[in-house]
Every structure is written in structure tokens, then in C-alpha cells.
Amino acid sequence: MIEAVHIFKSFNGNDVLKDVSIQFKQGKTNLIIGQSGSGKTVLMKCIVGLFEVDKGKIFFNERNFSEMNFEQRKDIRQEMGMLFQGGALFDSMNVIENVMFPLSMFTNQTKDEIRERAQFCLKRVNLENTDQLFPSELSGGMKKRVAIARAISVNPRYLFCDEPNSGLDPITSNVIDNLIREITQEYSITTVINTHDMNSVMEIGDNIAFINKGELWWEGNKDNILNSDNTELNKFVYATELTRALKKTR
């Protein structure tokens, strides 16, 4: 379980996160939803320590991450995988090297063992025969899958996904969402996902937190999100013709 307690974060006087407290459960896909610019990415980067919080605490299974220095954080970092918005694959490495990289930096396994593990992870995300391709030669969906394979190669306890299906078509989005959910359940990972995509919300929203202008406005799950009486949330949920049409049929 990951716990963020009273998180504040501002940039040059611009208050981006205002007293956000939130919990993410193990073996579940925990979604953070909200409009573009509401602070989802900043919240995620505060939790993983890419940004330092101004105030507040972050616990990874009771370990106080926010009070650790770079060296002390290394242990928890090696239990983390993160899927960045654009994939963030290393341009200078091909697919298999990207997936092997975290293992080769932190384990003492032989090159063959590492390669075997990387190939297993690539197979797990249904990517085969792409080992020698470079990131520039991959489609958006393939990049995301390589990034997932790289993130799970180290057997993470915590997985963070920032807009995992931004820029993907609905079908590919769905494949990625379900892949993340399967992996989460299979390995009992604590998974946190940023998204503004209602399709993902209805597909994999085990737990949902709605962030609006840097504040936590609503918490729930995919079964009760359509019936809330929170006006800001409803504006977000029923922003499109499609969801409004759906509402009428209910």
C-alpha cells in the first residue's frame, strides 16, 4: 500500500497541489482522474520522488519515503516501475536492451539470465520479434508495451502509469489497460494510473480519485462514479456526447 498524507506542492507561487491525502491499495488498479492541468502528473511525480513535496509525507508500506535521501531511496526505487506518458524509452538502445537495462544495472545475474528475463517480459506484453528494433521504429502502442515490459522486468511492487493510453486509438488503449490490470492482479502490484480517459475509468477503475484544481474532490470506484452528486465530477464524467447519451439510457 502507498499512502500520501497532506501533500502540498507549488511552483514559483503557483499552488498545484493543495492538501492531497490519498491511499493506493495493493493488487488494485488505483486511478487518478481529472482534467488536463489539474495536477495528476505533479502528484504522481511527488509520490515517486521526482519532485520534492513542499509539505506532507509519503509512505511505501509504512516506510517514510519523503524523509529519505537519494541513497536511502534506492531500495524502494528498485521496487518501482514507471510508465511515462511518451514511453521514455532510451533512444540509443534497441527494444531488448531497453528492457535489459534496469536488470543489468542492479542485479548480478549473467547476461544470458538477464536476456531471458527480458524476453519473458516482452512476451508477457505480446511483443515478439521486435528485439532489435529501435524506439524510433516502433508505433505508439508498441512503445507503451516495451515501456511496460521494462517497468515489470524488475518485478516491481509498485507500478506508476502516467496517461498509459494517451495518443492511442480506443482498441489499442483497451489492450494496454487490460494488460496493466492483468499484471497488477497476477503479481499483486500496487498500481497507480493517471488518466483522463472515461473508457479506462469504466474498464479498470478499481479505485478512483478525482483531482480538480489540485484538490481531491471525490473518491470511489467504477460502480458508483456514474451516480455521484458531485457537480464537478459530473462535469468531467459527462463531458462528451457519448457519455451524455449513455446517461439517458440508464
Binding site: V48, D75, R77, M80, F84, A88, L89, D91, F160
Partner: protein, 249 residues
């Protein structure tokens, strides 16, 4: 809003260097990266350095010949002048400025695009000190390879001067060689290489800083690489004055 002052940037630069100069996570990976950087920074600059050196040496000979067109000047003047100007100033300083343009912009744009595509964040998430992992090999490679480039430049510019002198008939081979040997202090070469090492450090560290610390979009990458070249050039010129004063006085 307040602009970022020179002192803020200097502070940020020093903090970055403190992150850079730590023990690499894996020694073997560091050496692999170092070899790659030596190739990217050094080997790929061989041609441009060779080309410029030969031609500037040739021009130095021709200009000297025109300017000392007096029967009173000793015949060795040309070789002497070319040697002194190339070894003391042209090779270490001007070639370093050219490398600041070529290498500095490529370092800044490489790191800048890794920053905006979140590749640097991806390293940090894995628990890797990204500054150490990415920048240390670049600085070490520059400090190792630039003295070789500058030494080569010294030979080639003097060779270019000889070729031009002999082909145009301004100087004979024995006279040119006489000039090269007169009043030669090996310390001059040493002085020159010390400057080169300082300049190599300035180019690689300043350009890394400019690239590593960008935020925003692709436009920023271009700006950062321009700033890297301008700032490293200014510091090369400043340190040239300081080092010349310190080492030759």
C-alpha cells in the same frame, strides 16, 4: 518574475557537478559509456580539426611571409612565427572554441531531448543517479580526448604551414625547420595542453548543465544548445586570459 541571476545558475551548476562526481553504479557500464563518448566526442571531430588546422597553418605562413617582406628579417622567421602562434594560441584556444560549437551543442541537445522525453526521469525512477550516469562519461571523455585532438592539430597546422611555404616558394624546407627549432621551449606545449584540459572540462560540463536543466518543449532544446555554445565560448575566452597570466608569468 525575477530572472535567474548568474549566481543562481552558478549554484545550480556546482550542485550538478556534485551529483556528477560520485562513484558510478556499475564500473563496467561506466567504461562502456566512456568508450562510446570518446568515439562521439573525439573520433567524430578528427576530420574537422584536421581540416581547419592544415588550412590555418598554411594561411599563417603566407601572412607572415607577406608581412615580413624585408631583407633584414632572418630566414627562419616564418617557421618560428607559425610554430609560436599555432602552439601557444591557435591550437588550444581556437580549436577548443570550434569544439565548443560542435561538441557543446551536441551534448546539450542530447541531454535536453532526454530531459523533455522523460528519459532522465526514467533513469532516476530506477534509482540511477542520472547526472553521474549521463554526464560523467562525457566530461571524462572530453578531458581525455581533447589533448590528443589539440596535439594532432599542432602537428597538422605546422605541416600545413610548411606545405604552403614550400609550394609558394616563400620559404625553403631547411629554413622552415630552422625556424621551428629556434628557441623552442617544451613548456609551451605543456602550457597549451593544460589550457586544453581546462577548456575540455568547461565545454563538457557547461553544455551538460545547459542540456540537463531544461524544462518545456522541443523549442527549449534548440535554445539550450545555443546557450551551451555561447556560454562555453565566453568561459573559454575568460579562462584563456586567466590561465595565460598564471602559467606564463
Amino acid at each position: 518574475m525575477l530572472g535567474i541571476t548568474f549566481f543562481d545558475q552558478f549554484g545550480e551548476y556546482i550542485m550538478l557537478l556534485r551529483k556528477v562526481f560520485t562513484k558510478p553504479q556499475k564500473r563496467k557500464v561506466f567504461f562502456v559509456n566512456l568508450i562510446q563518448e570518446i568515439d562521439k566526442i573525439g573520433i567524430s571531430s578528427l576530420w574537422i580539426v584536421a581540416f581547419i588546422s592544415v588550412f590555418i597553418g598554411a594561411v599563417a605562413t603566407i601572412q607572415t611571409a607577406f608581412n615580413i617582406d624585408s631583407p633584414l628579417m632572418p630566414t627562419w622567421s616564418i617557421g618560428f612565427t607559425v610554430r609560436q602562434s599555432m602552439i601557444l594560441e591557435f591550437c588550444p584556444t581556437i580549436i577548443s572554441l570550434i569544439l565548443a560549437g560542435k561538441v557543446g551543442s551536441s551534448i546539450a541537445s542530447e541531454l535536453g531531448s532526454m530531459r523533455i522525453t522523460e528519459q532522465i526521469d526514467a533513469l532516476e525512477i530506477m534509482g540511477i543517479n542520472s547526472a553521474n550516469f549521463l554526464i560523467l562519461p562525457k566530461i571524462v571523455a572530453s578531458v581525455i580526448i581533447n589533448p590528443f585532438l589539440i596535439t594532432m592539430s599542432m602537428f597538422l597546422s605546422i605541416l600545413g604551414g610548411w606545405l604552403a611555404g614550400v609550394l609558394t616558394g616563400f620559404v625553403t624546407t631547411p629554413n622552415y625547420i630552422d625556424g621551428l627549432q629556434i628557441d623552442f621551449h617544451p613548456y609551451d606545449v605543456f602550457y597549451s595542453l593544460i589550457k586544453t584540459i581546462f577548456f575540455a572540462f568547461l565545454i563538457s560540463s557547461i553544455s551538460s548543465y545547459k542540456g540537463y536543466h531544461i524544462s518545456g518543449g522541443a523549442l527549449e532544446v534548440g535554445k539550450a544548445s545555443t546557450k551551451a555554445v555561447v556560454t562555453s565560448s565566453i568561459f573559454i575566452i575568460l579562462f584563456n586570459l586567466i590561465l595565460t597570466q598564471l602559467l606564463l608569468s
